[in-house]
């Protein structure tokens, strides 16, 4: 066991784990990350091949719309450990790493749920007009995410194949935990919507909320339009808003110039 390798692997994984959401959002991609891990493990060429292969696998499996795809950081680390250290073929290593990528996705879901707790610290900093408090919240969050993934990378390095078997057992026997976490993760965004509604939704605007919901339903059920749903909806929303603005300006100007109501001679 090579201590320097473990430390370096933990370090680069720490950075990739943060990079998958912040920083460049490019460094963590298998195409770049796997060659770097290859350098750490002493086999750059395997890193290049695994990276290229994994990157192509990931095309069409992107972090869109807030959904969590199988985690490329953990998947990449484990694929490299299996390919370089366990001497698996590249295809076998990629195949064996999938369960870790899926597991990594639940790790991220759980971290995102727990990090909601940090928002009360951020609220306090905001109420006190204390910018340093906001910086702290972002730093703590990044350190948590990076540290957790660095730890998992070390586990994968030390006991990769044992960890794979353990994960498969959990997945077979208690898959409802993973299923429940995934379902709850998908529901969390409703909290954010509800907070916005509490702030913005005065009683006379309910109709516009329902109209937005209905229009989005209509547009996204037309296959050709679905990807552009929110942009098209924004156009419609702008039209409604401008119309409302125009009407109200008209009323205001007429009142202002004394031409309102009966004096119009209608």
């Amino acid at each position: 066991m090579d201590v320097i390798q473990i430390v370096l692997l933990a370090l680069v994984t720490f950075i990739f784990a943060i990079d998958q959401f912040s920083l460049t959002e490019i460094l963590y991609r298998p195409m770049v990350a796997c060659p770097i891990i290859g350098l750490v493990l002493g086999d750059l060429n395997t890193g290049l091949v695994v990276g290229g292969t994994y990157e192509l696998m990931m095309v069409g499996n992107m972090p869109v719309g807030g959904a969590q795809p199988p985690n490329a950081v953990l998947g990449g680390v484990v694929a490299m450990v299996f390919a370089v250290k366990s001497g698996m073929t590249i295809d076998a290593a990629l195949g064996a790493s999938i369960i870790f990528a899926v597991f990594g996705q639940y790790v991220v879901t759980t971290v995102f749920a727990f990090m909601s707790g940090l928002m009360s610290k951020a609220d306090k900093a905001a109420a006190e007009a204390n910018p340093a408090g906001i910086t702290q919240v972002t730093v703590i969050s990044m350190a948590l995410m990076g540290g957790l993934f660095a730890l998992l990378a070390v586990v994968a390095y030390v006991g990769g194949e044992a960890a794979r078997d353990a994960l498969n057992t959990i997945n077979d026997n208690a898959s409802w935990i993973m299923g429940g976490l995934a379902a709850a993760g998908g529901m969390m965004r409703f909290v954010g919507f509800a907070i916005l509604m509490k702030i913005m939704l005065s009683n006379d605007l309910w109709g516009f909320f329902l109209a937005g919901f209905a229009m989005a339903n209509i547009v996204q059920n037309i296959e050709a339009l679905a990807p552009a749903t929110l942009l098209l909806l924004a156009f419609i929303g702008v039209a409604i808003a401008m119309f409302d603005f125009g009407i109200n300006m008209n009323i205001k100007n007429r009142v202002g110039s004394g031409q309102g109501g009966a004096s119009d001679g209608i």
């Binding site: 990276g51 109420a127 935990i177 969390m188 909290v191 907070i195 916005l196």
Partner: protein, 294 residues
């Protein structure tokens, strides 16, 4: 220490004198900070903390009154989610409104209306068009053990997003500043119109981002009945709509904190999975119906 802010009762800043325009250096600093948009991502408010951190250099220059800075920081910590590479567009517009000391309701509505649609545009342009093309070219180089593959990939992908970030920040700040004069003259009407747009977009977000479905099927001879298909006949996206209303009810009427609502949803998610209610590839603890073989 400033007094605690109750944002619901504040409609405008104390100091309504427009601040000096932000310098190019400040705008550039915030563009670099925009890279950390998702650093404190969480399910309660998504990118809110990273968003606030990104625009803080500007807010500190604009709001020299400490109470105003507290108000601005508080309302900029509300739920925020957009495409990371396009966020500077929202930043520029919001900062131009902050600089002119627009009504808080106006700033909020513009922020929500701008952030929603950008997500879809960014995904379509970047993840579904640009990256697949770049990956297609460079992956083959990497598989031939050519180091230029990853280097080219990084330079192209990171370079493009930085160009976009800088351009959008400067452009949208100018855009906001030039439009604002006419808007502040008719602030009340504009705020109402912006709120309509914001509320309309939130309604659309519920339908667009809400993905919760059920997998329950009722045995019925050869043609089992899917509960989700039945619900879709009444109204598509009924479960996301109902869950949003539940959260709204708990927060607005029962004064739940967001963290409490998150715990409620965690319980609903896991208990639901025990009974096999929610869709997904898992085996429920209590199996009271049989899933048809795919």
């Amino acid at each position: 220490m400033a007094s605690k802010v109750n944002i619901d009762q504040i409609s405008h800043y104390n100091d309504l004198t427009p601040a000096a325009p932000l310098s190019k250096a400040t705008l550039n600093k915030m563009t670099w900070r925009s890279l950390q948009l998702q650093s404190a991502f969480n399910y309660e408010r998504m990118q809110a903390a990273g968003w606030l951190w990104g625009i803080l250099p500007g807010l500190e220059k604009i709001h020299t009154n400490k109470d105003d800075l507290a108000i601005s920081m508080t309302h900029n910590l509300e739920f925020f989610n957009t495409h990371p590479f396009l966020v500077t567009f929202v930043m520029g517009i919001v900062l131009s409104l902050e600089q002119q000391k627009a009504d808080i309701a106006t700033i909020r509505s513009v922020r929500v209306a701008a952030m929603g649609p950008l997500g879809g545009i960014g995904d379509a342009l970047f993840w579904f068009t640009f990256i697949p093309i770049v990956a297609g070219i460079t992956a083959n180089m990497a598989m031939d053990e050519n180091l230029m593959g990853p280097v080219l990939y990084f330079v192209l992908a990171f370079g493009l997003q930085m160009v976009i970030r800088f351009f959008l920040m400067n452009w949208s700040y100018k855009l906001g500043s030039s439009a604002i004069g006419a808007l502040t003259k008719n602030a009340k009407e504009f705020t109402r119109a912006a709120s309509i747009l914001g509320v309309f977009v939130v309604g659309a977000l519920v339908a667009n981002f809400g993905g919760t479905t059920t997998r329950i099927v009722f045995a019925n001879g050869d043609s089992p009945i899917s509960l989700q298909a039945q619900l879709d006949q009444i109204m598509p996206k009924m479960i996301p709509f109902a869950l949003t209303m539940l959260c709204y009810y708990l927060i607005k009427k029962k004064n739940f904190t967001a963290v409490k609502v998150i715990v409620v949803l965690l319980v609903i998610g896991i208990v639901g999975a025990i009974f096999g209610i929610w869709a997904g590839d898992y085996t429920p603890l209590v199996e009271w119906y049989t899933l048809p073989k795919a």
